[in-house]
């Protein structure tokens, strides 16, 4: 900024930036760097720490439950990404065809997003147990029920959200391009795959990014639906909860019965952060390349 405005602005910097900067340091910057430091320490209380180097990371990677939750989360994130985006796009495509009741349908499909993860988990655990109890089983007894149950829950919640983003994308596809495709004799399918989808690539980038990171970061729904049940006991006596995802595994490492493992929990959290941030950025740069420049 130039001229007369510059100096008074500089003088008022504390007023505009102060509150956010202070809160940001308390709520993010300090905990983040302290977290990185603590991942190299052994501690029970935050005031008494001993430096152990990479020991926590070695233990975290050796932990069977952590590795299991990693593969389980990865599988869940990919399957849910596919379902949510294909169905969300299909819903958006159907609702932009100018059919009757589009607004009502859009309202209904988006509604589950307003309900929180904990509540969603309990609603669906009641529904699944209501069905499965007729066959003498429960969602807490079999890994596959827990997995697909969570997929159904997440689809129910997230399809509407992605649909909204896809609708915004579909509405911004230039009308004259569609017209030109029609005049050139393109079929509906050709128009969809050759014209529409390349033009909504920005929306696809955002939606796949959101559903991938949401899948990896999932916590509330996982806790409320199965809380990681059922579990199997390893030969060495440790237990592996088979539907426990990464975030819940980290939480249990921190606040479970074994309070000596807080350093390991923090090391897992750092690995988790690197994974989520890395995946998100890699995915963004991959799909960004496929976007059409207009």
């Amino acid at each position: 900024m130039k001229g007369i405005f510059k100096n008074p602005m500089r003088r008022w910097g504390w007023f505009f930036l102060g509150p956010v900067t202070a809160a940001f340091c308390i709520g993010f910057v300090w905990p983040f760097f302290q977290g990185i430091y603590l991942s190299f320490c052994k501690f029970k209380l935050i005031s008494k720490t001993t430096w152990v180097g990479f020991d926590n990371y070695v233990q975290a990677l050796k932990d069977a439950s952590f590795m299991h939750s990693f593969w389980y989360t990865a599988l869940f994130a990919i399957v849910s990404l596919l379902f949510i985006n294909v169905l969300g796009f299909a819903a958006a495509y159907a609702l932009t065809q100018g059919i009757k009741g589009s607004n009502l349908y859009r309202t209904v499909f988006f509604m589950p997003n307003l309900i929180g993860g904990i509540v969603l988990g309990y609603i669906w655990s009641m529904i699944f147990d209501g069905i499965l109890s007729r066959y003498g089983t429960s969602i807490l007894l079999e890994t596959k029920y827990g997995f697909w149950g969570l997929i159904i829950l997440m689809c129910w919640q997230q399809i509407g959200y992605m649909m909204i983003i896809y609708i915004a994308g579909l509405q911004s596809v230039p009308e004259d391009m569609l017209e030109a495709a029609k005049i050139d004799g393109a079929t509906k399918r050709q128009t969809l795959f050759r014209v529409t989808i390349p033009n909504v690539m920005p929306s696809i980038t955002i939606c796949t990014f959101l559903s991938l990171t949401n899948g990896f970061k999932l916590f509330d729904q996982n806790l409320a639906l199965t809380a990681g049940q059922p579990f199997i006991i390893q030969p060495d006596g440790s237990t592996v909860k088979t539907t426990e995802m990464l975030a819940l595994n980290i939480y249990n490492t921190f606040y479970g019965q074994n309070s000596a493992s807080k350093g390991v929990g923090q090391a897992k959290a750092v690995l988790f952060f690197i994974l989520v941030a890395g995946l998100g950025l890699a995915q963004l740069s991959y799909t960004r390349k496929r976007e059409v420049q207009q």
């Binding site: 008022w12 308390i26 993010f28 603590l38 209904v108 529904i127 209501g130 939606c207 509330d220």
Partner: protein
């Protein structure tokens, strides 16, 4: 195929699509409906006859609601009260302070501004588990563990997205308006509050909607930060109710779930236009 036939085919296709979507819509609301019917059902039947309409001996009337309100040693209305306080205060704080900071960052090109901006963008990709332990300890030692002070934690942890959205919007506002204000004798504070602040309204609504949806439904942050014996939000309350295995009263749980989603659905139907716009805006920026 002549033109009339193709129009008729097109109309048939649209009607079929409309009917199919209508059926899907009905399936979509069934989970919510099952909450409604089970909240009026005697507890023992919830598990065995989940999808039956409560009649005869299954009908519990409002017993579940009465039981749910007084369940355990924590009154449900307190949770509602604290949820409302936390959500309103946090959203107000976030909107006010991040918009101020964002305007400053967008207009002043200093090193400090750049550092804050990129740290904010960076904070958006950091999952909560990364900071949950240290953040709850920090908040504890600063006495931010009450519903009246936890908004500061939300302001800190939630600043990233808000700053990002506001900076994007401020950059699209022409500088001339502010220059005119400054020539007319407005200082930075007056320029911001009487000129810039009103122009930011559309983004404020978007940010506000996103923050309300996040804070109202958030479970882990308040659970770890708040003094849990004194202050419980609605998600914490419901988790406590259901988390204790063995003696779960499903009927009462469903009654409370129903009570907690009714205001959400009313809010949604009332502000639907803004909510959907806010979500689309947040996604495009994010």
């Amino acid at each position: 195929m002549n033109k009339q036939e193709s129009i008729a085919a097109e109309r048939r296709r649209k009607t079929t699509l409309s009917v199919v979507l209508g059926v899907i819509c009905i399936i979509y609301v069934l989970p919510v409906l099952s909450v409604v019917i089970n909240s009026f059902k005697v507890n023992t039947f919830v598990k065995t006859d989940t999808f039956a309409i409560p009649t005869g001996e299954m009908w519990a009337g409002f017993a579940n609601f009465i039981k749910g309100m007084t369940f355990g040693n924590y009154p449900f209305w307190n949770s509602v009260k604290y949820s409302v306080i936390i959500t309103v205060l946090s959203t107000a704080l976030i909107i006010l302070f991040t918009s101020m900071a964002a305007w400053y960052i967008a207009r002043v090109n200093s090193f400090l501004c750049k550092v804050i901006y990129y740290l904010c963008v960076f904070s958006m990709v950091v999952p909560f588990q990364m900071v949950m332990f240290t953040l709850s300890k920090t908040a504890d030692s600063l006495h931010l563990n009450t519903p009246w002070t936890i908004p500061i934690v939300y302001l800190g942890f939630g600043a990233g997205l808000a700053i990002f959205m506001f900076v994007g919007f401020v950059k699209s506002i022409p500088l001339e308006i502010e220059e005119a204000a400054s020539i007319d004798g407005c200082g930075p504070v007056r320029t911001y509050f009487s000129v810039v602040f009103p122009m930011l309204k559309p983004t404020m609504i978007s940010v506000g909607i996103l923050e309300i949806m996040w804070v109202w439904n958030d479970y882990l942050l308040p659970y770890l930060v708040l003094d849990i014996n004194k202050y419980r939000t609605i998600p914490i309350h419901i988790q406590y109710l259901k988390g204790s295995y063995g003696t779960v009263d499903l009927g009462a749980t469903m009654a409370l779930i129903l009570l907690s989603i009714i205001p959400v659905i009313i809010f949604y139907l009332a502000c639907q236009k803004y909510i959907i716009k806010g979500v689309a805006a947040g996604a495009v920026k994010g």
